[in-house]
C-alpha cells in the first residue's frame, strides 16, 4: 500500500507541473491586462505610464519563463505569490476561504452519497414502480436545470415565501461572532441545492447498477437460499454495485467543485468559488494558478483514495499504482 502511495506521488509531480505550466500559458494567451483589471474604473482615467509602473512592480511584463521560474521558486519556499485582484498574499486569500468551501463540499458529498444510495437502491428494488418512475423523472428534470436557477428558486420559496432559511451569507448579517447554529442554519439551503443539483448522476447510477446486480447469479443464489429481501438488497446487490460507484465519486469531484462556484456566488458565501470567479475576471494568475494546483492535488488524492478503497472493497482488485 505504501508503495502504491509513493508511486502515485511520483506521478503527481509531473501532473502538477504540467497543470501550472498550462495555467501560465493560458495567462500569457489572455489579452486581458491585469493592471487595467486591478484599476477598475480608474483605468479609464489613468495614464499609460501609471499602468506601466504597476505592471512593472508586479513583473507581469517579464518573459514568461522568468515569471514561471520565479513563481515556482517562491512556491518551493512556501510562498504562493501575490494576488493582484484581492490585494493580499495568495496563501492568506486561500486560507481565509478554503475552509468554507471544504465544509460546503464535504457536507454536500455526505448528503448526496447517503441520499442517492438509499433512494437509488429502493428505486432499483421496486423497478418500474411509482417511486422508481418518480425518482427517475425528477433526476432528469433536475439534471436539466442550471444550479444557479435552482438556487434562486430555493431562495424565492424557502427564504422569501416561507421565511424558513436565510437567503444568503454565512452568518446573520448582524451577528457578532460565528456560532455553529447560525452557520448551520445558513448552510441548509446551499448544501441542499448543491446536493440536489449533483444528485442525478449518482442516483441514476446507483439505481442502474443495483438493478443490474439484482439480476446477477450470486444475488439470485442468495434469494434462492431464502435470505430476507433486505439482506439480499443491501448485503449482496448493493455491495457489488458499490464498486463502480466509488470510481464515480472520484471522477465526479471536480464537477462538485464547479457546482460549488455557482452556489457560493448565489448564496454570497465567502468561499474559494466566489474568489476564483473574481480572480478569472481580474486576470489574477497567481491566485488562479494556486487554486488550480490545489484542485488538481485534491482530485489526485481523491483518485488515490478511490483506488485504495477499491482494493479494500474487492479482494480481487490489485493496483500497481
Amino acid at each position: 500500500m505504501i508503495r502504491v502511495i509513493l508511486r502515485r506521488l511520483a506521478f503527481a509531480l509531473p501532473v502538477l507541473m504540467a497543470t501550472s505550466i498550462g495555467m501560465f500559458l493560458l495567462g500569457a494567451a489572455s489579452p486581458m491586462d491585469p493592471a487595467r483589471q486591478y484599476a477598475g474604473a480608474a483605468a479609464f482615467t489613468m495614464s499609460e505610464e501609471n499602468l506601466h509602473q504597476i505592471r512593472d512592480n508586479w513583473g507581469v511584463d517579464d518573459p514568461l519563463h522568468e515569471q514561471y521560474l520565479r513563481w515556482a521558486g517562491n512556491l518551493l519556499q512556501g510562498d504562493l505569490g501575490w494576488s493582484t485582484s484581492r490585494h493580499q498574499a495568495v496563501g492568506e486569500v486561500i486560507a481565509g476561504r478554503a475552509g468554507w468551501t471544504l465544509l460546503l463540499i464535504g457536507l454536500t458529498l455526505v448528503v448526496v452519497l447517503i441520499g442517492s444510495l438509499v433512494a437509488g437502491t429502493i428505486a432499483a428494488y421496486r423497478r418500474g414502480g411509482l417511486l422508481d418512475r418518480g425518482v427517475r423523472a425528477a433526476a432528469y428534470a433536475v439534471q436539466s436545470m442550471p444550479s444557479f436557477w435552482l438556487a434562486l428558486a430555493a431562495i424565492a420559496v424557502f427564504s422569501l415565501g416561507l421565511g424558513w432559511f436565510p437567503a444568503g451569507g454565512l452568518t446573520d448579517v448582524r451577528a457578532t461572532s460565528v456560532t455553529f447554529a447560525d452557520v448551520a442554519h445558513h448552510l441548509v439551503l446551499p448544501v441542499t441545492v448543491l446536493a440536489i443539483s449533483q444528485a442525478p448522476w449518482f442516483l441514476l447510477f446507483v439505481r442502474d447498477s443495483v438493478a443490474e446486480s439484482l439480476r446477477e447469479d450470486h444475488v439470485l443464489a442468495a434469494r434462492a437460499r431464502g435470505l430476507a429481501g433486505r439482506t439480499v438488497l443491501f448485503g449482496h446487490a448493493l455491495r457489488t454495485a458499490l464498486l463502480p460507484f466509488l470510481t464515480l465519486v472520484g471522477t465526479h469531484l471536480p464537477e462538485l467543485v464547479g457546482g460549488s462556484v455557482l452556489v457560493e456566488t448565489v448564496f454570497s458565501l465567502p468561499g474559494l468559488g466566489a474568489v476564483s470567479v473574481h480572480a478569472a475576471l481580474g486576470s489574477d494568475f497567481p491566485l488562479l494558478a494556486a487554486i488550480t494546483l490545489i484542485t488538481t492535488a485534491v482530485v489526485l488524492t481523491a483518485n488515490l483514495f478511490t483506488d485504495l478503497a477499491y482494493t479494500a472493497a474487492d479482494p480481487r482488485v490489485r493496483i500497481d499504482g
Binding site: Y38, G40, S47, Q53, Q88, G96, V173
Partner: protein, 508 residues
C-alpha cells in the same frame, strides 16, 4: 433642508454629539452593495473621493458636493500664482489607535501615492503635484508643477497614519485589510466576500456618530441582493433600477449622478467624421425614450459632459440638420449616401454591459429613421480598444466634482488617440483653449465662462452623442432617518454611496 443643515453641523463639529447620540445608541445599520473594495487603503485607491467612513481627507463634501474643511481647520489657502497650497490642520484629531494626526501623516499619504513602487491608481490624478512638505506639525504645503484650479477637489483623499505604514511595503501591508483612520467608524472586521463590520468612533472629531456601527454586506449578484433585501436583511441597499421596486416598509431613492453614457464618434471615419452626420444623429436620438425604456425611468437625458446639477452647466440643445443639403441623399433602401459613400458605421459596445447594449440598439433604431445605418457590435474591451480610432463606441464617464476632471483628457486635442482619453481624435482649438482656461484660472466666474464656451463648442461639433445620465437607485427601510441623497459619481460602493453621511443616521 433641515437634514442637510444637520449634516453640515455634524461635519464641521459644531453639533452637540449627545443630543443625537443618546437616543439611538446601540443601533447598527446594515447596508448592502455589490462593489467590494479590494483594499481599504486610500493610498491604493479606496474611497478617494471622500465619504470613506473610515477615513477623512483634508477636505470633505457636504450634501450639495461643496467643499468643506475636514482634517484641515479651514479650506486650504491657494497662493497668487496658484502653485502653492497651504493647509492648516485641525487640532486635537486622533487616529483610531490613539496617535495624534500630524502634518507628517498627510505628507506620508501623498508621498506614497506619488511613489512609483506603490501600486496606486491615483498617481495620474495627481500629475500636477511636485511635492508635499510639512514646515511644522500642523501645516502642510503642496507644491504644484503648474497652476491647477480644481486642486482642492483632490484633497478628499483619506489620510493614513504614517506610523502604521512607515518602513513597510505599502502594497502588502496588513493595514490594507485592517486600516486605521480618523473617520467616524473604526474597522472591527472585514471578511472579504461577506461583510465589513464597522464600529462607531466615539472620539470622532466631528462628534460621536449617532449610531453604534455600520455593517456593509457585499453581495455581488444583483438578483440575490434584491432577494435578500426583500427578506428584510438590509436597512439600505443599492439595486439595479428594474429591481428597485418599493416593497412594504421600504422606500426607493433615485439619486442623480454625473455618470453619463454616450456615443463616441471617431473623426477618422468617413461617415462619422462628417459633422453633418454627427449633428443629424445628435438630433435624431430620442433620449427620453431611452430613459423610460432602457433605464426604467432611472435617468435623465444628457446633452453634454457637464451634468445639469453642476454649477458649470450650460444648457445646449441639438439643432436639426438638413442632411439633403449636406449632400447625404437617401437611396432606395432609405439609407443615405454621399459621393458613393453609404451613411453606415459600426457601433461597438462592451458585450457584458447590458445597459450599453440596449442603448446601442436604441441608437441604431433612431439612426435608421434619419437614414443612417448603424451596425451594433458587442465585443470585449480587448477587441474594442484597438478599433476605437475607427469605429464608434458607447462610452460612459463623468464626475460631479469638477468639469476639468474627465473632460480635459477626454476632449483635449493633445490626448487624441491616447487609449481611452480621446479615442476619436477630436480636435478643436476653441475647446482646447477653453479647457486650458478652466484649468489655469482660479476665478470661478472666468472658469464658468470657459466651460460655457467648451460646452457650446462641443454641442456645435458633436464629437459625442450624449444619451443619458444614470440615476443610482437605492431601497431604504422606512424607519431610517437622516438619508440625504447627493449627486453621485460613477463609483459608489462602501464609500460615496447614499450612506455617505451614515454617521448621522438614526431610527425614527
Amino acid at each position: 433642508m433641515g437634514t442637510a443643515a444637520a449634516v453640515l453641523l455634524a461635519l464641521t463639529a459644531c453639533s452637540n454629539p449627545d443630543a443625537t447620540g443618546s437616543t439611538s445608541a446601540g443601533n447598527t445599520f446594515v447596508v448592502a452593495t455589490s462593489g467590494e473594495p479590494d483594499t481599504l487603503n486610500p493610498v491604493l485607491g479606496y474611497g478617494t473621493d471622500g465619504a470613506a467612513l473610515i477615513f477623512d481627507g483634508l477636505v470633505a463634501r457636504d450634501a450639495s458636493n461643496t467643499l468643506i474643511p475636514a482634517l484641515a481647520a479651514e479650506l486650504p489657502a491657494v497662493s497668487g500664482d496658484g502653485r502653492t497650497i497651504t493647509a492648516k490642520l485641525r487640532s486635537g484629531v486622533t487616529f483610531h489607535d490613539g496617535t495624534p494626526l500630524t502634518a507628517g501623516d498627510v505628507v506620508f499619504t501623498y508621498t506614497s501615492v506619488l511613489d512609483p513602487k506603490v501600486d496606486s491608481t491615483l498617481r495620474s490624478d495627481l500629475d500636477m503635484l511636485a511635492g508635499v512638505t510639512a514646515p511644522d506639525p500642523s501645516t502642510v504645503v503642496f507644491a504644484l508643477k503648474y497652476a491647477y484650479a480644481p486642486f482642492l477637489q483632490r484633497l478628499t483623499l483619506g489620510i493614513v497614519p504614517a506610523g502604521a505604514l512607515e518602513g513597510q511595503d505599502v502594497n502588502k501591508a496588513g493595514f490594507n485589510q485592517k486600516p486605521v483612520g480618523t473617520g467616524p467608524y473604526r474597522v472591527t472586521s472585514w471578511t472579504p466576500g461577506d461583510r465589513l463590520v464597522l464600529a462607531a468612533n466615539d472620539t470622532y472629531w466631528g462628534g460621536k456618530p449617532a449610531n453604534s456601527g455600520v455593517i456593509v454586506a457585499f453581495v455581488a449578484d444583483d438578483n440575490v441582493r434584491a432577494q435578500r433585501a426583500r427578506a428584510g436583511e438590509f436597512d439600505a441597499v443599492e439595486l439595479a433600477p428594474k429591481l428597485a421596486t418599493a416593497f412594504s416598509g421600504f422606500t426607493v431613492h433615485r439619486v442623480p449622478t454625473a455618470d453619463y453614457r454616450g456615443v463616441m464618434l471617431p473623426m477618422g471615419d468617413p461617415v462619422t467624421g462628417d459633422v453633418a452626420i454627427r449633428k443629424a444623429l445628435d438630433a435624431a436620438v430620442d433620449r427620453q425614450a431611452m430613459v423610460t425604456g432602457v433605464l426604467a425611468g432611472a435617468g435623465d437625458p444628457a446633452y453634454g459632459p457637464v451634468p445639469p446639477t453642476s454649477a458649470f452647466y450650460t444648457a445646449t440643445e441639438p439643432a436639426p440638420v438638413n442632411l439633403d443639403e449636406a449632400g447625404w441623399v437617401a437611396g432606395g433602401d432609405g439609407i443615405r449616401a454621399k459621393n458613393g459613400q453609404r451613411a453606415e458605421f459600426s457601433l461597438m459596445y462592451p458585450a457584458t454591459d447590458s445597459l450599453r447594449k440596449e442603448l446601442a440598439l436604441a441608437v441604431t433604431a433612431d439612426a435608421r429613421k434619419a437614414g443612417i445605418e448603424v451596425k451594433p457590435e458587442g465585443l470585449t474591451w480587448d477587441a474594442i480598444e484597438p478599433r476605437m480610432g475607427d469605429d464608434a463606441l458607447i462610452m460612459g464617464w463623468g464626475t460631479p466634482y469638477d468639469p476639468d476632471f474627465v473632460s480635459y483628457k477626454l476632449f483635449g486635442g493633445q490626448f487624441a488617440g491616447q487609449g481611452f482619453f480621446n479615442p476619436g481624435s477630436y480636435r478643436s482649438e476653441i475647446v482646447d483653449k477653453a479647457l486650458q482656461d478652466g484649468r489655469d484660472n482660479a476665478d470661478t466666474e472666468r472658469r464658468k465662462a470657459a466651460y460655457a464656451t467648451f460646452q457650446q463648442q462641443l454641442a456645435a461639433d458633436a464629437p459625442w452623442v450624449f444619451l443619458t445620465y444614470l440615476q443610482h437607485t437605492y431601497v431604504v427601510r422606512d424607519d431610517v432617518a437622516g438619508v440625504t441623497p447627493r449627486v453621485e459619481a460613477h463609483e459608489h460602493d462602501v464609500a460615496n454611496s447614499l450612506w455617505w453621511n451614515i454617521h448621522t443616521w438614526t431610527r425614527k
